[in-house]
């Protein structure tokens, strides 16, 4: 693991960024709270139970859902399993390398997982088939296809979109045995959590940082909110700090910006 930044931003470019930000503008002409164009395409992998390709600017992420059955965790015998995993593919960036998941990929998956889990997006009690014995296990695997900043949000949107469109086989219990039925039912989705990640560059928080902005940022903060504007997950990243006032500003921005993104996700996954 190397702590060296992979991508180096030119000093003059960073100076330009800071100068523009002081006037409320960004190098790619966005306003500080504006995300890059977001596209969502679902049902792209036929063999998956649900899938979605999300592009956020040039960042491209593919999420696939696979549903199987298995044993529940001993401490939650009446709940199904939901696991999010992410891999930054070697083809995604000149700096990515094959091998076991990096610290960054583990953090990415865990933060996205937290948003999905804590928002109670999927009603895990409805994934129980026989209490203590058999439950649905929902795996969401994410392949990062192209890296251009803000993997957190792109991954989150892909996972949420894939889950919203996922269908699983119906199982019935007959004579204490689990029997597979022919028809399919949707994965029981209740909510649409939306993650909004901001980078702090100097004194300004910018939404959806590009990789160039990430290379220049001091720190990163991700805040995930649910449909009712509740905060359900957050993560501060990078070896720098944030003031308490900025944290609260980030929460408000996430609630505000998240609304429009949620509407777009819901529209794309109808």
């Amino acid at each position: 693991m190397s702590m060296k930044k992979n991508y180096v931003v030119e000093t003059i470019r960073k100076a330009q960024m800071v100068e523009l930000l002081a006037k409320g503008r960004r190098v790619d002409e966005r306003s500080p709270d504006e995300h890059r164009p977001l596209t969502i395409q679902t049902g792209v992998i036929q063999k998956a139970n649900g899938s979605a390709i999300v592009t956020l600017g040039n960042t491209e992420v593919l999420a696939g859902v696979k549903v199987a059955t298995g044993a529940p965790f001993p401490d939650t015998p009446d709940k199904g399993l939901l696991v999010v995993n992410a891999e930054i593919l070697p083809l995604a960036s000149p700096y990515a390398e094959p091998g076991p998941p990096s610290e960054e990929a583990i953090e990415l998956a865990r933060v996205v997982d937290r948003g999905v889990r804590e928002s109670e997006m999927v009603d895990l009690t409805k994934l129980c088939i026989i209490e203590g014995k058999t439950v649905y296990t929902v795996f969401v695997d994410v392949n990062i296809m192209n890296v251009d900043g803000n993997l957190f949000d792109a991954t989150s949107y892909a996972v949420v979109s894939a889950l919203r469109t996922a269908k699983m086989k119906k199982y019935a219990v007959e004579n204490d045995k689990v029997v597979v039925k022919d028809d399919v039912v949707p994965v029981p989705v209740e909510k649409t959590p939306v993650s909004v990640t901001m980078a702090r560059i100097g004194d300004v928080l910018v939404v959806d940082p590009s990789s160039e902005e990430e290379a220049a940022m001091d720190m990163r903060i991700t805040i995930t909110t649910d449909d009712d504007g509740n905060v359900c997950a957050s993560q501060k990243g990078e070896a720098s700090t944030i003031t308490p006032a900025h944290v609260l500003e980030a929460v408000d921005t996430s609630i505000r910006v998240g609304k429009a993104i949620r509407a777009q996700i819901i529209e794309a996954t109808k």
Binding site: S2, M3, K4, D75, E103, I106, E107, A109, R110, R114, R117, E118, S119, E120, I221, I223, D226, D228, G229, N230, V231, C232, A233, S234, Q235, K236, G237, E238, A239, S240, T241, I242, T243, P244, V247, L248, V251, D252, I255
Partner: protein, 220 residues
Amino acid sequence: MGLLKNADGSAYINWGKNKIMAAVYGPKEVHPKHQVLPDRALLRTRYHMAPFSVDERKNPAPSRREIEISKVIREALVPAVTVEDYPRTAIEVWVEVLQSDGGSRVAGITAASLALADAGINMRDLVVGCSCGIIDSQVVADLDDTEDKEGSGDMPVAIMPNLNQVTLLQVDGMYSRADFQKAFELAIAKGKEVYGMQREALMKRFFEGQEAGMVEEESA
């Protein structure tokens, strides 16, 4: 503090049922060499839970949770360390959870920052943490392990108290905008209380029985 004789600095913290030992080695040579940072120190952190630290034996291999926590602990400590004072070196911070309770990462950070000060690594401020959560729709500070499981949220926060900067923030659970602010501000306030104890521990280690104040300059 200073319990581990081999380490350049160490601190042991008892916080609720948490029993955590933090040790600092360094600055020292960087191995492997390609990880050397020419302009600053490389801070390495490992948060690790002993197999016997939890109810069910934990597999000693680092879990994904531990890898993530090691990363956020590093990112919580680096802002306090003047890493530019120690170019081309490594500073290692080992956080070993011997018995775990709720809030072990913030307790670990609190101990690690004392171990860094004990080792005499230049620091801009100490780092101190506290976590908050929600139980029965009430915001509460410093959840223990059973509350952590019953409650509907956990918000570990670490701060540099003198600089009023947040160095770690993780949230899970369900917080209204108002509850978020309440929990966040409570975590900071509690962290400042723990800072008082951190300060006391350092004072006890280094100044016990000493008096400060005005003195006449010693003659040559």
